[in-house]
Amino acid sequence: MAFLNLEQVSKDFGPVTAVCNVSLGIEKGEFVSLLGPSGCGKTTTLQMIAGLVEPSGGRISLDGRDITYEKPNRRGLGVVFQSYALFPHMTVAENVAFGLEMRRVPRSERNERVREALSLVQLASFADRYPRQLSGGQRQRVAIARALVISPPVLLLDEPLSNLDAKLREEMQFELRRIQRKVGTTTIMVTHDQAEALSISDRVVVMEAGRMTQVDAPYRLYEQPSNAFISSFVGKTNLLAGKWRRNGASAYVEIKGISLEAPIADLSDAAPVMLSIRPEKILLREPGAGRLDGRVTNRFFLGSQWLFTIETVAGTMTVAIPNQGGDPPLEGSAVGLDWTLTNLRVIPDTANL
């Protein structure tokens, strides 16, 4: 059994089902992200692990011990709250020392560990400040130090970076990963930002409306999303709705009267499907030389790449081309779109069944 184990965990708030049958095993030392849109039950899941919300059903166990109904102060988990929840009337050092004080760690050892934790998050010189005298990024690091200083078996982070501006957020992502690598604490992070989840986790758990829909390593999640929601939520993608047709050893998909070659899938004939292809997997060719013809309606220069919107018979497609220094097709010019067949994903269209 995994280090931290959730079995069929559910939570109802009256008529609202916030979390439904979540089962998840997390190994020691892993960094797992819970990813999903706002209101999908991420915080509720995290708080059930922390012991702040009591599950309506299911079991949670830590290191073989059932902790489903254990009080939060007996679990010993480190929690970083979305609002940081620092104690405003205590200095940074007092905040960090609080958990050790509760564990009756002797004063000299306590001071030593507080100092270590603060230097880990690079705030050693801020020990005597009050939380209100710190910037957002510094408060967030105090919250991390406060949670880590008690050497928790599991660290729980609830959208720890969402209150920071874009540049600081990027820095803190690396910082978080560096700290986690160094300390080796099993970590669960909640986020609604797919880029954040992909860049720092070992595994990503995608949640939709209280359910877990895919658990995978970041690159597999990106390359092999299990449904249309995930393929558009995780990264950008082009989705084309059509009918899947088998033709002996090959297959094709009918979209608005044209057919596009498709990979073989385990589907019945004429099943409604979504074709998904990432913008960066499409190549631009001369008109007629690709799998699909279209006309450039817009082009955006993003520095490292060009982004095109291309009108085709199958629908509007977005295409990303790395900036090689050349002059790409102008708006209004005709182009051909091409791709490798393996980069095309066929996703059963459950919404149109």
Binding site: P88, F98, A147, I150
Partner: protein, 286 residues
């Protein structure tokens, strides 16, 4: 954009009526009272137009007046203490309630403010009197009857009842501003519910408790209806003493002197208390 003229009338016009009321109803009578307290008084001829400090001297040297001031101080302090002991937990429970109940109980707490203090004092005298419900109940249980009405206990009980909302509301307001996750953070760090309350919640609502106790103390020290109705003729507090000097003895200058002394004493105590706690709380809460 609005162009601001160098002198705008709006602030003055808006603040005017309030300032006028304050001046006419507080400052002016207060000045008149101060002036009155320095007038001499003669039992046969009434108020004289000569300056004297004799009223002040009489009050501060007379055991009788001093004992009443001491009683006022004792009763107000005790009322404040009990209000804090009941009101703070009450406000905490209130702030943790779910919504329909929270509104209901808030109304229950504020509701008594809508009933006149005189009516409530009469209610207590009916409950606590020698033939009151309390003594009837004690009698039924075969216990000796208790003499509560016309004692300091009766005054404190009724004052606590009257003053409780003034403690609950500021503390409740302070609790509303608290991030509930801060308490949860203390739990996850290993604090029991009680420790989290004592170490994390209480220090942050101390300013609410401070303003609540200032209001309760000030109102208790100057309370009139409750001591008048539940203290009886002999158990006097500052306000009832002033009333007696004015309307029984007709010695207005002496009454004025007592009123001024009570005002100054009250002010000193409250300012000192405020300084003591606020300085500490402000330093950490900002």
């Amino acid at each position: 954009m609005i162009r601001r003229s160098p002198f705008t009338f709006a602030p003055w016009l808006l603040a005017g009526p309030g300032a006028l009321f304050f001046f006419g109803l507080v400052i002016l009578p207060l000045c008149l009272t101060v002036i009155l307290s320095f007038h001499a008084y003669d039992h046969s001829k009434g108020i004289q137009d000569t300056f004297t400090l004799s009223h002040y001297a009489a009050v501060v040297t007379d055991e009788y007046y001093l004992s009443i001031f001491l009683r006022t101080l004792r009763i107000s302090a005790l009322t404040t203490l009990i209000c804090a002991a009941i009101g703070v937990p009450e406000a905490y429970i209130l702030s943790r309630m779910r919504d329909p109940w929270r509104s209901v109980f808030l109304l229950v707490i504020i509701g008594p403010l809508l009933v006149s203090v005189v009516v409530r004092a009469f209610g207590w005298s009916m409950l606590l009197g020698s033939q009151g419900i309390l003594n009837q109940a004690l009698h039924l249980l075969g216990l000796p009857s208790a003499k509560i009405l016309y004692t300091e206990t009766a005054i404190v009980i009724a004052l606590v009842h009257v003053m409780l909302p003034f403690m609950v509301i500021p503390v409740w307001t302070a609790l509303q501003k608290l991030d509930p996750m801060v308490e949860a953070a203390a739990w996850t760090l290993g604090a029991s519910r009680f420790t989290a309350l004592r170490r994390i919640v209480m220090p942050q609502v101390s300013l609410g408790v401070l303003s609540g106790s200032l209001i309760v103390f000030g109102l208790s020290a100057s309370a009139f209806a409750v001591p008048a109705l539940l203290g009886g003729r002999r158990l006097k507090m500052a306000a009832t003493l002033v009333y007696d000097e004015y309307l029984q003895e007709l010695n207005w200058p002496l009454g004025a002197a007592i009123a001024i002394i009570v005002l100054v004493a009250n002010l000193c105590i409250m300012l000192a208390y405020n300084r003591m706690i606020e300085v500490r709380a402000r330093r950490t809460l900002g």
